[in-house]
Amino acid sequence: MNRFVLLMLTVLSTITLSCSRDGNTIYCLDPEEPVPSTAPLVTVIYNADALGDRSYNDIIYRGVEHVARENGLRTAQLSPQDYEEGLSYLKTMFDRVSANAMDSVRQLYIICAAGYDDYIRANNHLFENNPYADLLYLETSDSLVGKGSTLHLPYYGAMYEMGALLPVLDRELLFIAANPVDVTVSKSVEGFASGFNSDYYDVDYNRYYQTVWNNYDTVIDVADKNLRIMYLGSESGDGFNVPDSTLLRITGYMMGGMDSPTAIPVCGGSGYQLCYLIDILNAGRYAGIDHDVLSPNSPISCVKHIDRALELCIRQWLSPQGLPKHQSLGLADGYTEVIRHFYNDRDREIADFFITDSIMNVIRQDAIKQEKEHGY
């Protein structure tokens, strides 16, 4: 807490204990009566209908609540019901920040709503009038011009790692991407495909299948591993909320062949609905994206620890040094990760043989290297 805030709190607490005299009567304010809080306030604004995804956005919410509770902060988290409502929140908020420059209560505004990028970049200068208000914009690799910090958790490395590991468990893979335009999606596809095309397992994997699974009519050759990439939309922002009928068609497709592919759904809300359908229809398996999925149908998850990243940021904000201008926290920093859960004997046997700590370490170091080479 900075010195000014401490000074203000001291003055306020002195005043509240004070009295005034009128002749022989002394009027004293009741020291037990509640007074408005002056604790720092963290406000978060999400994209429309973002909360309730049981994943990325909910993890942010939980992370902010957690760090606020530990540090005695107040929070206000806003999940607008549509784009216009979110924009009106932002406008009101930015205007107030500018107008109430003398309000000495410290405030941090966290915006995890990429849909308002144009507005944010055009108006973040309004924060410059207010020494007590700060802005943290997620998730972008482009720093803000003027006042405001940015945070990015690159997925390239973690996706590379998952791309290398997943074919060991399931040889038919279906990468379902929202669209080919949005950078967060395209980099995920790129990282996964790069990991998929690596050759960590060729020799041992063939031998394993021939020895352990030789009761199969046909021994699957590792060269048979297949990755198909499906895009749900073609423009930026497309594919994150497609209708259930489309998702039902996808699950139908997944169940149509000899081997149900494992889905890797990097498509936001569409992905969560798709995973639900896979679960209730027993339509195959899927990889958890953004959060650690607990489901018998999900052997692996690619996780973003956005909660921990925000905890770091809020602590930085409270410190005398304040928030850095931009931070990129990826696989090397432990803010993205691949987590495995094996619910059946087959997965466990394969994992015991192939996904050993030493191999995992080799793949992870390569993934970290790849992530750095791609500029993160």
């Binding site: 004070s18 005299r21 022989n24 304010l29 509770r69 809300g269």
Partner: protein, 775 residues
């Protein structure tokens, strides 16, 4: 001690100005010290009637209340006036509820009552609070019957009674639909018509599932083959075992839907399930038989208290529960604060408290007598009006902000002070009520949960409204039968070539009207029969052509608020006027009805339908029904006789066949209101010249309409009411249009038409040939 606002401001101002100087001043012996407040504090009381005998539930509700009241207090500190809500707690499981309801409803110091939390208890309360309109906020009442009785204001002419019952959760009608949704998705994906089994508790909540699920199952392509209520005599586990035995013998996939209220029921059911499918993989079991639990009170704390063995048994168990809207963030904040997810009760209780607090705040700010409102209102009316005002917003921009936490609640209260009453969302979602009927919640959220690693995992969210985040589940409460579906169904049933049918000339018309139930609770059946009787009289029928079989004692019952009078709605005419009852139903048997129809005169039965091939005969039957699906017999129940002693399907077949063989009629029209009526009238299928219409198919209930608040009884049944409206407003209506009208307007059951293929062209003939007397 509270002081007025002006004084508080002045003193606070004085303190602020002189405070630093006074830090060094001293008090003298003759000084008088007055402790002042910055705010004007107003104390108001709210009663909470909840299941406090359950220590876990008590702790949960208490911590929720503390949290909400803290937030409410903090949110008010930007104004000058603050309301302090004091809670009076009562245990709904140990209190004498009627006595408590009487006491609280008379106590003007209690602004509102929140609870009770169970439907059966709520009935005791609502009956009494209804008398003086004490505001009753129902957090978790989901019984369709209770909400229809109390939450929907009665229309009397153009006047609508003031609502007093504020239900925060949608009825289980919507829940039932959500529970079926997973199986419906399977059916859609695999083009299946799977079989379903439903077990519900024998109480008001279970009754909603029992009544509505068959209707919804039909729409969603799940063939319900077993629909039972369990109770102490026929316990859940025995019925579940029977269901599993049945299902395990089937080759097709099936699903059982279990409505439960206790975690141990789920443990027992899962144990049985595992025993039956021992040695099979979970996937193969799930593919062939799915078990879904409808469990509103599921909580992680209850699961954590089970033995490790029982927790293991529950692994992969899945089901559905009403819950909070995930976009409000309440669930996560709660979990972060208390370490466990909130239960439905807590989410709704938080909102109930918030609603009461906001309404009290509004009254405090604006005073009791607002412009345009009746100055002579009682405190209860003022409170109900305040709830109404804040829930039906007057602001142009309908932003529905989430205001359950202090910072945002503060903004909401500021809006309230400035004269804007924006919509608001609480812990569980929108605090909204239906715009037409005022009271019932217009949207509730549901979760599809599964237990994985001993923890409740939320697989998906649903709501009756749907938004980008949650899947929609059409609210059957507002279900209107799809016209295209109705037309297809009609075309299917009338598809056979029946142009070869020819009829002799019409020589006369007779009607047999049967009121088959007994007891004042069945007032509506007598009313519907008399309504048809009066319609026939207006159509030119004299009493010699109407055989009216009814139990008139209902009209003179001590429970009838208008003794000797029978109406189908509060503003309908008295239907007893000039009614001539041929037989007192209490003196007849079901067999006697058969004899009367067949024209078998006897000493006891001196009025019968004369047999003649030129006669059109109209049989209208109102009462209850049994079905093989529920009670083991397809029949129209005769008064209170046991199952099997009513007008059975076989009796219907024998009667109509004999009438046909003896050329006792030219055309015969049967209209039947009872539940499952199609299962009885389909006996006539194939017999020429007979057409039957029913208000419900073989698997479902028919429904009551028009609740009489003064006397607490139903005044009419829906199908009969619609039928009467259609023939009254369009005397020349065709059978086809009559059927479509009833299909579209009879909510909750599927109107049926039977034997159309053996009757004639339904597009150019109509019921006028039975209800309007030809010269």
């Amino acid at each position: 001690m509270a002081i007025n606002r002006l004084s508080a401001s002045l003193i606070a101002g004085a303190v602020l100005l002189s405070g630093p100087l006074l830090l060094t001043s001293c008090s003298r012996d003759d000084d008088r010290i007055v402790v002042c407040n910055r705010y004007t504090w107003i104390d108001r009381s709210v009663a909470v009637v909840a299941p406090l005998d359950d220590p876990l539930e008590k702790a949960r509700l208490e911590r929720t209340a503390t949290w909400m009241l803290d937030n409410f207090r903090d949110a008010q500190l930007s104004g000058d006036v603050c309301v302090r809500i004091n809670l009076q707690w009562y245990d709904e499981n140990s209190e004498n509820l009627e006595e408590l309801a009487g006491r609280l409803s008379e106590d003007d110091g209690v602004a509102a009552i929140i609870g009770p939390f169970t439907s059966d208890h709520m009935v005791s309360f609502a009956n009494i609070c209804q008398q003086n309109g004490k505001p009753l906020i129902a957090p978790t009442i989901t019984s369709d019957e209770v909400i229809r009785r109390y939450a929907i204001p009665t229309k009397t002419g153009t006047q609508i009674t003031r609502p007093f019952f504020w239900s925060l959760t949608e009825t289980d009608v919507a829940f039932s639909e959500v529970v079926l949704s997973a199986q419906a998705a399977l059916n859609q994906q695999f083009r299946l018509t799977s079989e379903g089994i439903l077990l519900s508790p024998d109480n008001l909540d279970g009754q909603t599932f029992f009544n509505w699920t068959p209707f919804q199952a039909e729409n969603l392509g799940v063939r319900l083959v077993y629909n039972r209520l369990y109770n102490e005599d026929n316990d859940f586990l025995t019925m579940f075992r029977d269901a599993l035995d049945y299902e395990s013998g089937q080759k097709h996939p099936s699903a059982n839907f279990c409505v439960i209220s206790d975690i141990h029921q789920m443990v027992d059911a899962m144990k049985l399930r595992r025993l039956l499918f021992q040695g099979q993989s979970e996937k193969s079991v799930v593919d062939s038989l799915r078990t879904y639990f409808a469990f509103s009170r599921i909580s992680q704390e209850d699961i954590d208290q089970l033995s490790s063995q029982d927790r293991l048994i529950l692994e992969n168990a899945q089901g559905f529960a009403p819950y909070a809207d995930p976009t409000t963030g309440f669930e996560i904040s709660y979990e972060e604060r208390f370490g466990v997810r909130p239960t439905l009760s807590e989410c709704k209780f938080y909102d109930g408290l918030m609603l009461a607090a906001f309404a009290i705040y509004k009254i405090t700010i604006y005073g009791q007598d607002m412009e345009g409102q009746d100055p002579g209102r009682t405190p209860n009316e003022i409170m109900n009006d305040a709830i109404y005002d804040i829930c039906f917003p007057n602001s142009v921009r309908q932003i529905s902000a989430t205001v359950w936490r202090a910072n945002l609640m503060k903004l909401y209260l500021e809006s309230l002070r400035s004269g804007l009453f924006p919509m608001f969302r609480g812990a569980s979602g929108n605090i909204g009520f239906d715009t037409e009927t005022c009271s019932p919640a217009s949207g509730t959220f549901y979760i599809h949960w599964q237990i994985v690693d001993g923890k409740i995992q939320i697989l998906n969210y649903f709501s009756s409204e749907g938004n980008h985040r949650v899947g929609p589940a059409t609210a059957a409460w507002r279900f209107f039968y799809d016209e295209n579906t109705a037309q297809k169904r009609f075309a299917l049933q009338a598809s056979d070539d029946n142009t070869s049918l020819t009829y002799p000339a019409l020589t006369d018309q007779y009607a047999v009207l049967v009121h088959a139930s007994e007891g004042f609770g069945n007032y509506r059946h007598l009313a519907d029969v008399l309504n048809i009787y009066q319609h026939l009289r207006r159509g030119g029928f004299d009493d010699d052509h109407i055989i009216l079989i009814a139990d008139p004692s209902i009209a003179y019952s001590k429970y009838n608020p208008e003794p000797g009078t029978i109406r189908t709605s509060p503003d309908s005419p008295d239907l007893m006027v000039n009614a001539v009852i041929d037989y007192d139903a209490s003196l007849l048997t079901a067999y006697d009805i058969s004899q009367i129809l067949m024209g078998c005169r006897s000493d006891r039965l001196d009025v019968v339908v004369p047999s003649n091939p030129g006669h059109n005969v109209f049989l209208y039957w109102s009462g209850h029904g049994h079905s093989r699906l529920t009670d083991g017999t397809d029949e129209f129940q005769w008064r209170r006789t046991p199952a099997g002693d009513g007008f059975t399907r076989q009796m219907m077949l024998n009667t109509v066949k004999q009438m046909h063989d003896s050329q006792a009629y030219r055309k015969l029209l049967i209209v039947a209101e009872p539940c499952y009526a199609e299962s009885v009238v389909n006996a006539v299928d194939g017999i020429p010249g007979v057409l039957a219409m029913t208000g419900a198919n073989s698997n479902e209930q028919s429904w009551a309409d028009h609740w009489n608040k003064e006397g607490s009884f139903w005044m009419s049944d829906r199908f009969s009411s619609n039928l009467a409206i259609a023939v009254r407003e369009s005397p020349a209506i065709t059978y086809r249009d009559l059927y479509l009208y009833c299909a579209q307007h009879t909510l909750g059951s599927h109107a049926c038409i039977v034997n159309a293929a053996h009757f004639g062209n339904l597009y150019d003939s109509g019921p006028a040939e039975f209800v309007i007397k030809k010269d």
